[in-house]
Symmetry: C2
Amino acid sequence: MATDRMPTIQLATLLRDAITRFNRRVRQTRPMGELTATQCSALTSLELAGQLTLGELAEVERVQPPTMTRIVAKLEERGLVQRQPHPTDGRQVILSATDAGRAILAQRGQARDEWLAQRLAELSPEERDTLRQAAEILQRIAQS
Amino acid sequence: MATDRMPTIQLATLLRDAITRFNRRVRQTRPMGELTATQCSALTSLELAGQLTLGELAEVERVQPPTMTRIVAKLEERGLVQRQPHPTDGRQVILSATDAGRAILAQRGQARDEWLAQRLAELSPEERDTLRQAAEILQRIAQS
DNA sequence: CTTTGCTCATTAGCTAAGCTAATTAGTGTG
DNA sequence: CACACTAATTAGCTTAGCTAATGAGCAAAG
């Protein structure tokens, strides 16, 4: 492939523009009443980890604490997340997904991501594989 | 690979979460005084196309016209985009990049995308190739 | 040649999602 | 016990998107 001849700076621009437009497109298809991408990602992290303090969740999600405070407030309003006092440190708050939160995640394929899954299903297996690998790489970059 | 055994709905979720976090991470590194991802993408589309009406640019960027009005206003403030009246239709506006706009795009590798390019440079050639292909696929999905 | 209806852009006003700075409450140590 | 540190929140700002309503211009039908 011609990748070796493409400077990384050009790839960076290409990748970012593609992801910018992709994101907008995906956001347009969000069904009302469902979780936003941000909320969904936070809830997923929380379920995976079991219990996290607000600060820990903010760190995992690569977001500042005040931002996470607000995201959690939204999730709490809808009963998807619950808070408990920290056993030894009164400042901290322990967050976990509620049964309702886990239920939403479990069945979210029903409505959420349906559009994207449909697009993915139209790709060749090789293309899907490329995207799967790309997702891993992007995740790694995001954590760095 | 195991892709065949991964349902597309699961890949959809994986991909969207990865891209959500990736986007946040990239946005954090934006140097002040530079273009935002949105502005950058719009300006790039405009330069590639030469001339576009506001509505056309909105469509290319997958954004509603009012949103594009505002993006263009920002770019115009900074002298990166210019508008001309449409020769035959007084309602439409024709947009094009100015010399300053083209100059910014040409040299934007200097500051912009530097962080991402650095991360990309640390990857293996195969991984970069994967991302390049993924960018094409994502772009295609975004346009569908 | 005027009215009527359509289209393009803009304005107005809303929401989500991020940030920093400042505040509050709680911990822990000298 | 006072003082410094830390966790979360509040306050206020920015960006980026949306829809609905408005205004301006075009085009076609009477």
